[in-house]
């Protein structure tokens, strides 16, 4: 999928400001940004719910403005606000949404059952969503979006307000969908989810992409070092020189009984460092690694927290 100079204005307010993104097939692409950054607006434009004021959107190489039917058949959208009918059973809900994409007869029945099984609601297919927990409703919402087997699935904050168990279930099913060959666009303002799940991430703020790349590329914008603090019982016999010889270690400073090691972020040398302390008969009391995460990236770039 490709977005070029996408713009959306609501009156004078510019919600999405010349946004350009390229998403490769098979990616789990994360859109990370605080509330009101323009994530949902972008998604609504991709799914055709909102008309853009400028720019173009291509899906599988086709402009959605001219191939709207093709685009709709290949997109499954899990909206932020639940889109299910409370007075229809779970099965009927999935059947209804899949039916909108033109599935009929046996195919419709099989696909609907598969989708329910996928989200783990097979045994609840005759129940009504009004009796469901928040997490189950979310899962049903996902089933409705995937029954027609779209190539691109867009999930807009699918884990808002649900229990940790359902959350894990949803995160796992996102991975499974991805393994099955779906490209996924995932928006969230939960940094941990995006960091854990997504192969590539765009940080969005005030309708603009301010940084884009893998988690490692994004953190590398801020710094290429990490700090490792090792607290030991006593540090009288520390051979700083040989500690520095460990690959990646830049500097070593000792403050009382804490040894602060600044090391290159992309090199994983924790094992060797621990080994060093064991070999020298030093007892480790605690160990902390302070590597930059996406939250730090966002904070450093925008000066604000993700969840303000």
């Amino acid at each position: 999928m490709e977005i070029k100079n996408l713009t959306k204005k609501f009156g004078d307010f510019i919600a999405v400001d010349h946004m350009s993104l390229t998403i490769q097939e098979g990616e789990i692409f994360g859109l990370l940004g605080s509330n009101g950054a323009g994530k949902s607006t972008t998604i609504n434009m991709i799914s055709g719910l909102l008309k853009n004021n400028g720019g173009e959107i291509y899906i599988l190489g086709k402009n959605i403005a001219t191939h709207s039917k093709f685009a709709k058949m290949n997109i499954g959208i899990v909206p932020q606000d639940l889109a299910i009918y409370e007075d229809m059973t779970a099965y009927e809900n999935v059947r209804f949404f899949a039916g909108l994409y033109g599935l009929r007869g046996t195919e419709l029945r099989v696909r609907a059952e598969e989708a329910l099984e996928f989200v783990g609601l097979s045994d609840k297919q005759k129940s009504y969503p009004k009796n469901f927990s928040g997490g189950m409703k979310r899962r049903l919402n996902i089933a409705c979006a995937i029954a027609h087997r779209p190539k691109l699935i867009i999930m807009d904050e699918p884990t808002v307000g649900i229990d940790p168990q359902s959350r894990n279930y949803i995160l796992n099913s996102v991975r499974k969908l991805n393994e099955m060959g779906c490209t996924i666009i995932y928006t969230s303002h939960y940094m941990e989810e995006v960091e854990e799940l997504c192969t590539r991430i765009a940080i969005v703020d005030h309708g603009k992409v301010i940084a884009e790349g893998t988690k490692e590329q994004l953190t590398a914008i801020i710094t290429d070092t990490k700090e490792i603090w090792v607290e030991v019982k006593t540090c009288e016999h520390i051979d700083e020189k040989s500690l520095k010889e460990i690959k990646g270690v830049n500097t070593v400073t000792i403050e009382e009984n804490i040894i602060k090691i600044i090391s290159q972020a992309e090199i994983n040398n924790l094992n060797q460092i621990i080994q060093f302390f064991i070999n020298h008969g030093l007892e480790i009391r605690s160990l902390q690694e302070q590597a930059p995460n996406l939250e730090t990236v966002f904070l450093t770039l925008t000066g604000r927290n993700l969840r303000d």
Binding site: D12, I14, H206, A220, I222, T300, L301, T302, G303
Partner: protein, 369 residues
């Protein structure tokens, strides 16, 4: 566009011709004459360029149609609607209003009412479409003209600016050359001459008074040493590090701003600012100036803080005030912010404007290697 109206007229004439031949009217000669006259009147109208004349000919045509209708054959009335539409287009904007008027003569030709109705509607549609598209076409033409003129202006501006840049580069180079030659003359030239005189004297004294000659040579060595030191200092002064230029300039501006407007403007910088290139300094400087002016004008702030950070792959310059800010729904991009955006985009950077907690403008520039 006129071609469609002409075609529709032609088709009506064809229709008339066929019905005249079929009905075997008596004075076919007169009728052919009338048709030819009608055609030539219409031609005349399209050929004339003056609006007034066009209208006059159009009225004559209408009159002529009525005479033919009166004296020759009632079917001539069918030519009336299209000419009528063309005439009214000089006065009326609302087209729908003229349709009932053009339908009125329907009652004058009993027996051919259906034909008349059909041809009128047909003419009306053609006419409506033609005028609609003509209007649009003219609009686009205007727009296109405007854009072309804008483009010309911009190109001219660009060329002028390029010329200006070239000129100022040349001027500053001349100034610099002047300064250097002055310096060489003042210090190095003098010491060289001094040393030379001493050495000449030593040469003459060599045979007579060796001790004195050695002293003179020692003097010359001293003078030359000082001269070399001078050259070193001059060269060093000539090549100031870029970060000094950028940073000093910025500090100076901030200080002046702070004093002039009685505001606190704390300024901090972090990281290795050596990596900021002159062009990046220029953009940072301009964006900070712009943001300071904005804050001063709109925020009612008492403090505006400026922070430049050099991160691993990014330079971040933030101007943030403690004023009233703007809620994000109300933010309207003015020329200033658009200017900053364009400037920053030219070096692949981004601007973040945020009004949620005071007002802040953040410039992000990638570090070029």
């Amino acid at each position: 566009m006129e071609i469609w109206i002409i075609f529709s007229k032609l088709s009506i004439i064809l229709f008339l011709g066929i019905s005249f031949v079929q009905s075997e009217t008596s004075h076919l000669g007169w009728i052919i004459f009338a048709v030819l006259l009608y055609i030539s009147l219409n031609f005349a109208m399209y050929l004339v360029l003056i609006e007034k004349w066009k209208r006059a000919i159009q009225m004559v045509t209408l009159l002529f149609i009525f005479i033919c209708f009166w004296k020759l054959n009632p079917l001539f009335l069918m030519l009336f609607p299209m000419n009528f539409f063309e005439l009214e287009s000089f006065w009326f904007v609302k087209k729908w209003f003229v349709l009932p008027v053009s339908l009125l003569p329907m009652f004058l030709i009993p027996g051919h009412q259906a034909d008349y109705l059909l041809s009128t509607l047909f003419c009306f549609l053609i006419y409506l479409m033609t005028s609609l598209y003509t209007e649009k076409f003219i609009q686009y033409e205007h727009k296109y003209d405007k854009m072309r003129i804008d483009l010309q202006k911009l190109t001219k501006n660009l060329n002028e600016n390029k010329e200006y840049i070239r000129q100022s580069e040349y001027t500053s180079r001349l100034e610099e050359r002047n300064r250097i030659s002055q310096q060489i003359h003042d210090s190095i030239g003098h010491s060289m001459t001094g040393a030379l005189i001493q050495m000449e004297a030593a040469k003459t004294l060599m045979a007579l008074n060796q001790e004195k000659a050695a002293e003179l040579l020692q003097n010359a060595t001293h003078i030359l040493k000082d001269g070399i030191e001078d050259i070193r200092i001059t060269l060093k002064n000539m090549k100031p590090p870029t970060e000094q230029i950028g940073l000093q300039r910025l500090k100076l501006m901030i200080e002046e701003f702070s004093i002039q407007h009685q505001l606190r403007v704390p300024f901090v910088y972090k990281g290795n600012i050596d990596v900021i290139t002159p062009i990046q300094w220029k953009i940072i400087y301009e964006n900070i100036t712009e943001a300071l002016t904005n804050s001063l004008k709109y925020s009612g702030a008492t403090e505006i803080s400026i922070k430049i950070q050099v991160l691993n792959k990014l330079i971040r310059a933030q101007v943030k005030d403690n004023g009233k800010g703007i809620s994000s729904g109300k933010m309207v991009k003015g020329l200033g912010i658009i200017g900053m955006e364009e400037r920053t985009a030219s070096v692949k950077g981004t601007i973040i404007v945020d009004g949620s907690n005071g007002f802040s403008v953040t410039t992000l520039l990638p570090i070029t290697e």
